[in-house]
């Protein structure tokens, strides 16, 4: 496929922007920024960037589907479906709002709900906020993507084993809170307070703890 000039320029601009960002930050963990720049490039039709994203994310999305109890073939299909969605929706990706991994996660999650439960996941997109100005500075002004990624990993690592367990069960077991409580043999309130404490740590790590 030959990309039209405009899209090539967009791609180049995206890559330059990402590189400039890396240089400015003196970043030691360029992974998140590289994935983000690749996603921007995919929006412009860059197949090499897509292949890189595929190599990184498809095996992880497959692992996610396997964790949620899908048979191997189904998990493989859903990993491919997720990546196809990534290609189709790449134009909607806003690097200033979310990391690539965050965005891919939401696509995989919605696909999983659609396929596994035949349900929808009702969502709100940013232009749908009702009548209220969000005067919060955008995410990239709070913390740039790579620092966010590293702080988030730090916060994840700092969760107590009990907190990490309820977080993982929430994301990877498709269990509602009462079912998690039952599995862990703890009161429902304990599950909820562990999640609250876990989120407090995440929020603090992301520098947004003034709420």
């Amino acid at each position: 496929m030959i990309a039209p000039l405009a899209t090539l320029l967009t791609h180049a601009a995206g890559a330059d922007r990402a590189k400039a960002g890396l240089a400015a930050r003196g970043c030691d963990d360029p992974a998140a920024a590289r994935l983000s720049a690749d996603l921007v490039a995919v929006a412009a039709g860059d197949r090499q960037a897509f292949a890189r994203l595929f190599a990184h994310f498809a095996p992880r999305v497959k692992a996610y589907m396997l964790k949620l109890g899908m048979p191997a073939q189904r998990a493989e299909d859903l990993a491919q479906d997720t990546m196809l969605s990534v290609w189709r929706k790449a134009q909607l990706y806003d690097p200033s709002k979310a990391e690539a991994a965050t965005w891919v996660f939401t696509i995989a999650r919605n696909l999983r709900i659609d396929v596994l439960r035949r349900e929808r996941h009702p969502e709100v997109s940013d232009d749908e906020l009702l009548e209220h100005e969000d005067d919060r500075p955008p995410a990239d002004e709070l913390l740039d993507g790579d620092r966010r990624a590293r702080r988030l990993r730090g916060a994840l690592a700092a969760l107590t084993p009990e907190q990490a367990e309820v977080v993982r069960l929430s994301f990877f077991a498709d269990l509602a809170h009462p079912a998690i409580a039952e599995r862990l043999d703890v009161p429902l309130g304990t599950v909820k307070s562990r999640l609250r404490l876990a989120m407090a740590k995440i929020r603090k790590a992301l520098g947004d703890d003034d709420r």
């Binding site: 992880r60 491919q80 891919v104 906020l129 209220h132 988030l152 990993r153 609250r196 709420r211």
Partner: protein, 247 residues
Amino acid sequence: MTAHHPDAALALLPNHHPSDALLVAYGAGSLGEGLSLAVAVHLAHCPDCRATLAEVEALGGALLEDLPPAPLESLSLAATLDRLDREEAPANPCKALRLKPSLGKPSLGKPKAGSAPQPAMGLPRPLRAYVPSLDSLSWQRLAPGVRRVELLPRTASGGAAQLLRIAPGTALPHHGHGGLELTVVLSGHFADELGRYGPGDLAEVDGDTNHQPIADSHRDCICLIATDAPLRFTGLMGRLMQPFIGL
């Protein structure tokens, strides 16, 4: 921040929010469709909770990153690129999007010239994928002063969602709840022991909480009520129906 005047309500931010735990469940995708819909309606009103959701989803992204990669089939990328080629034949990149459920359905809400974003009876977008407008609904009488429309009679994960329209001054019976019940106000107000709820406010009730909501403004209170289990005559709806269907 309190709603002093019904017409000013839309300009105010919600006072009653989902718990962090509920937002984690929503962001992780472990809530059923009806409960998720109630949360999404609140999110449409609430920048603070959207910020928390962004954090939850970032957490999901970090967890995805941390998963040990599962080996793909040998021709996985080639197969995907192949499908991509077939799809691209009629190049229409933005077609198959499901990110915005509202895109496919034109809004029937009456746009008001010059008015800020939403007309008073405008539905929050997440709801528009389910009902075109509040005016077009056929309300079913349930009890004196209470009408309802079933939205999701029973979702695949076992939950249910309905709209209730409660006349001013109507008090619902004192009741407890079996499972999780979310109530989000679309218009008007109701009050219970925990406070007063206006548009966008979400009441999250589970386990043995007792509450007695009263529609307390001069016009009907319309709210969306979602439960995580089929209606087994335990929650609000069940208690309402009990006297009328003899259970």
